[in-house]
Symmetry: D2
Subunit: 430 residues, 4 copies
């Protein structure tokens, strides 16, 4: 390790809060990044299978976005304009309308919430309660929706909930996500029974919220039937349907929204992570026009509408979503990913594939094994993380733009790492 | 209005949620901004007395930050790295330590929360509850701390609270801020009585949170005595002291932190708005080391540590806070501001000055008058907004870097606007 | 109707709150009652198959209790002594120890809560939270535990919950009671899965609370296996087990406690209704000695320990529970009840039996039919009520001391009433 | 101590929960009671200055009530009839209408809640929220309203609140009672300011609830002006006014209701304690007819309308409230009480009188002194207890029917006890 890097690591220990996390798995100081690769202070280059947890679907420093952003800044374009009207916001909205809404026959109002996923979720919760006059919101096992008190009440993870320090996480009913009781049990039937029974103790809900593929919860992918089932039950009970597409959206599963194949029309959709295209903080809430009953500033915030993100986000929409090319490419790479992960699953006893599209991984049976594989992979030049209630899933979230060769290279590293760990475990067991 | 601007305004009406707010006061489309001025699509230039609600203390597109940011992007510097260690984060922390903490003899851990003020506040609330094992938090009348459910529970404004749609805003006790009962009543005595009485029904608090100058609440400035009193009462009752310096910090009142003159040492300090220096989304929570008991990722989020903001934020620290020059300059301009506002107060019957430093305004007695003055000012080329429970305060939040001449020019416009409105009102009354 | 009775009914309309309920089904003014019969102001006598909702297990005005109570009053025995030590309280506790605890090998402290079932439930909730330091309590579908805010949070019924007027009913998770998904689904497996999954969003519970037979919820009787399963899961998760035996206890199901056959040892048991033996307000909470961590007066109330109820309650214990005679008699009558209800079930299409012991009824498929049967029965001289989420169960809660002849007579009236309603319905359908 | 008494004390230790309280101050076993005196198992007779905490305003075993109750029981009158119509309920309501409502020009519906004060309070809270559609309820410092979760949320005492074990006590704002800041501070002005300020964070209240004289909180007596002020503020803010007259009502302060002198008309009034006249469990909620929007059984309970209490409660109304005689007598005795307490206050340094009517006491400056005085008084044959946040008030709650001679005798014992303790303290200090 270089002297400089040691000094820098020291300042993190000295000054950065214990809450820091990813840095603990990847003990280096990163300096540059491009496409699907990141470079450390030691000039070592890593393939990035984490991609900002799906915030970098178009890779690091996409050249077109980069160019547009530099031009904007150089030209004294607005950096911060609160939620005033700006030229760049207009252009972004136009591009969103033309490339996303119109081709899909969708009609939504766009709410620029604070530039974090949790803020978009909080806005959705508040609005659903305002619209329906009800308080209860149904969320699902293994769901992850954010860390502020509203979003945290929806989040299933015990450790995260413990972070509330005893603050009330109320007005939410947690129900089983598809597959939560194993494949044989119909979780929709359960959901319906609890809501149909007027003495179940589950209050009439304002909304149902789910992730089409649970990113933090272990890459649990809801089937189209299940998504349609939740939509039907929500409608039957006068509740709104909120799809949290923050991690699964922006092309991650092979279509722009992760629920497109189900043919459902959510009342609200949360977006963040890759919405800016460049990794800049940005979030939005799509709202069916009839539900857009906010009063001006009723939910506000300083950084609503990050203007730099409008610039890069617009370029992303125009570059990747004007036609089917990108989408088809993602689906092609998804097949490569499936094949690569199957090879890994074969060598880890009891392992099974999870997820769909470019949001897949391998459940290796336990958090210890998964962490060991990821740590070994990092040593070999691959950035990758775990997911799941017990961190039992090795999760691949490569940039969607990753070159096929790099994707295969990364998968090979992962296979090697898995092999190393499996062999080690066998040896240790003997 | 140009055709293009009409088309752009149309798309906002068609696609942007009704929650949008500032844009309603400033009906133009902004294209560029530099220093203390913003330019509209109609090429009209406005003096900016709003400054992103104190997010642009160093003005728009500061040339040094701009240069550094462009170089960073051009060089494929990290744009998004989750909370991994990056060279730019290390440099920012170093600059923060050298220019802010050390000179003030402060020892804090820095928590990179989600890049919004409300997220920093939520992190502080959660941590205070974890540290103390208590739930109640004491907040103050006219306090504004954010829109997510935790921060909203601290916020006093009825309209904002109504946005929760009936969701629970519990575990908070609202107490009178200094001056809330008029100048003659000792609000600290009240606070102390309620906490000393074991049968008051006010549960032992985890924390007290206040803004040194209430930005949204009407520019109510706490005296040093009052801040020290709250600190003393918090200590006596085993509660943490959280200072929300989001709007009042980063030099706004004449010192880096708005509580420096009081000589208090808060247990936690929230920062956001001008922390990036450039208007980019960025927030942090300062935590006394002994309270930094977070487990890794116990409070997390995708955009913790906006790397672009590290770049510009570092430049801001090095450029403006390496010595006393900037601070002295701000204090000098504050005096000019006071003089200018006094002139305005003299012509509006019953008006009085509020706030301190470069965070001053005039309470003109009612929201209608204040809005009329701001609207008239905008016609004359000045961007300015109201504040207060009834929007009764005309609030000046000019960039701290504003040239004196521009400041005086803006104040003159404001004086004219106030005169116009006062005359109009008199005529209407006759 | 006599003139006097008209005048009396008028005063109820004029002065008694709309919350009154049972009186609406039985439009007469009652004057006297003895054994299993009540007499109205019109001298008409009714067989009582309601028995104060199981508060009169030993019938009205049992002669031995009556004699003892009159002697106590005549002799200036204490009527009200707060929770001071009284001779009658000592005698009651001794009789409880000798006749209930010792023969069953049970060791419990007795807490005299306020003299209502809901108060005993509230005390149990509070204590479970104190003991465990946790907040969540698991309650079950169709459970009924009372109307004060704590107990109401456990209660499933939507209408009852609506009575809270929007007050928070938080810190409770509602889970499926046995059979809630039909006979084929294992509700224990569901319960276990939700608690085992650390990302289910169901917080670690302080306690589980259930009724062995759900009185208001539709006479759903838990099997021994299910009760043992809940006990096992509670233990595994460090939660207390609270059995709410208020309606099902005091011999109602054939044993003193309704859970005896399951062989479980609850951490707390709530008792009320028939505890006084005479219908007087009285409730108690049994607490395992190691959990009795209350500080003096930490849960108090004016009417803890109704002294008149100590007198009659002691007589009840000595008269009915000194040996197996009464218990055997109840089991014998339960068989008669089953036979009688089967006859009714046979003539109502789709009907099925519910409950066990002297707590049985017939699910007639809908609330309208059940209400019609009860109304017709009242015309014929039988007091009987419905139960269940949709009032679909005709519920028999006759005094356990009812003479066999009267029981058969009542069942015949019920059969006639069911026949009348069934014929009517058929005619109407044709 | 007799052998029998020892055996009885042993069973309390063995079987009664640690929550028991009053018995700890009065270490004897009581056997009989009549008028203003109680007799222990050791045949020692005590003057009762506690009177069931105001539940025995007419003394123990009033001969007329006793006779009526025995006749009722002997004649097989209804003991328990749920909330069915009974002859005795009709007679009680008629007597209440004739002797209480009509003479005072009051029009209220009577809700028979569960027979405890806390249940009446819970019903009032729920109904106020239903009527207004708001959740917040304003309660006052040192208020005591009960131990179930709703009522407990209104109660100020830290120890009592701690009994909730961390369960949520939300939706309540605690405000200063009259005199809470000392005599010079206008608590109504504070209350009004917090409610008038739309950014105070105090949500629009459903109701205000207060006790005219705070029984447990230290005999703080609200002035007529203060009660009128709260009534006015409640009306102005669209909130209901609930007066909790449980301890202060039924003649205790010299009029039937403790707020009569203020001329206010509460929207709801809670009654319990002395309502049955005989110490039997009984409570009621008076509701203005326009607010009686309960659905049948929306707030229910097994022991609503204790029939034995209807019998004795009716006799109490007819015997004591048919004319002014009793009321005048109570006022006469109140003067004697004041004089007696002044004598005590004179010998205890710093002592001062609290309360009004027959609800007076002496604040002796601290809980230790007060407890010592009460303990000494018990040794001398007087039952008396403390009150206040720190138990600093020696509280006299003698039966209103106490003979003057007995009252004077009791006061002399108290004076002696105070003298003993004062002398002891002086000696100890020297």
């Amino acid at each position: 390790m270089s002297t400089d890097m040691s000094a820098e690591l020291e300042i993190f220990n000295r000054r950065e809060s214990e809450a820091r996390s990813y840095c603990r798995s990847f003990e280096t100081v990163f300096t540059k990044a491009s496409g699907a690769e990141m470079t450390g202070a030691d000039d070592k280059t890593y393939i990035d299978f984490l991609a900002g947890c799906s915030s970098l679907n178009y890779g690091h420093n996409d050249p077109d976005m980069k160019e547009a952003l530099i031009a904007h800044i150089a030209d004294d374009g607005i950096a911060h304009g609160l939620d005033m009207y700006t030229h760049e916001k207009a252009r972004f909205l136009k591009a969103y309308e033309d490339n996303i809404l119109k081709p899909r026959g969708m009609d939504y109002k766009v709410m620029m919430t604070g530039p974090t996923g949790t803020n978009a979720v909080e806005a959705a919760m508040k609005l659903a309660r305002k619209v329906t006059g009800r308080r209860n919101i149904v969320a699902f096992t293994n769901g992850f929706h954010g860390m502020t008190m509203g979003a945290l009440s929806l989040t299933g993870n015990t450790g995260k909930r413990g972070g509330a320090g005893g603050g009330s996480l109320s007005d939410v009913t947690h129900m089983p996500f598809e597959g939560a009781f194993g494949d044989d049990t119909d979780t929709l039937a359960y959901l319906e029974m609890m809501l149909d029974n007027s003495s179940s103790g589950v209050d009439a809900p304002a909304a149902f919220i789910f992730e089409p593929v649970q990113g933090e919860g272990g890459l649990n992918a809801a089937s189209d039937e299940w998504m349609r089932g939740v939509a039907r039950i929500a409608k039957k009970h006068g509740a709104l349907l909120i799809v949290d597409d923050i991690q699964s959206g922006c092309g991650r599963t092979g279509t722009y929204f992760a629920f497109e194949s189900a043919g459902i029309v959510p009342d609200m959709i949360t977006q963040a992570k890759s919405l800016s295209g460049f990794g800049l903080p940005f979030a939005a809430l799509l709202i069916k026009p009839e539900h857009d009953i906010w009063k001006p500033a009723e939910h506000n915030g300083t950084f609503r509408g990050n203007t730099h993100a409008f610039v890069t986000g617009r370029v992303a929409l125009e570059k990747f979503w004007a036609d089917d090319g990108f989408q088809n490419d993602v689906q092609h790479k998804s097949a490569i990913l499936t094949t690569g992960l199957q090879a890994i699953a074969e060598i880890v006893p009891g392992a099974r594939l999870k997820g769909r599209g470019m949001m897949q991984g391998v459940d290796v049976g336990g958090g210890e094994t998964a962490s060991a594989i990821c740590a070994r992979a990092f040593e070999k030049g691959l950035i990758i993380e775990t997911s799941g209630a017990d961190d039992e899933v090795v999760k691949v979230l490569a940039p969607l733009t990753i070159p096929e060769e790099t994707l295969r290279k990364g998968l090979n590293i992962l296979l090697d790492a898995a092999r190393d760990v499996t062999v080690q475990t066998k040896v240790a067991a003997e």
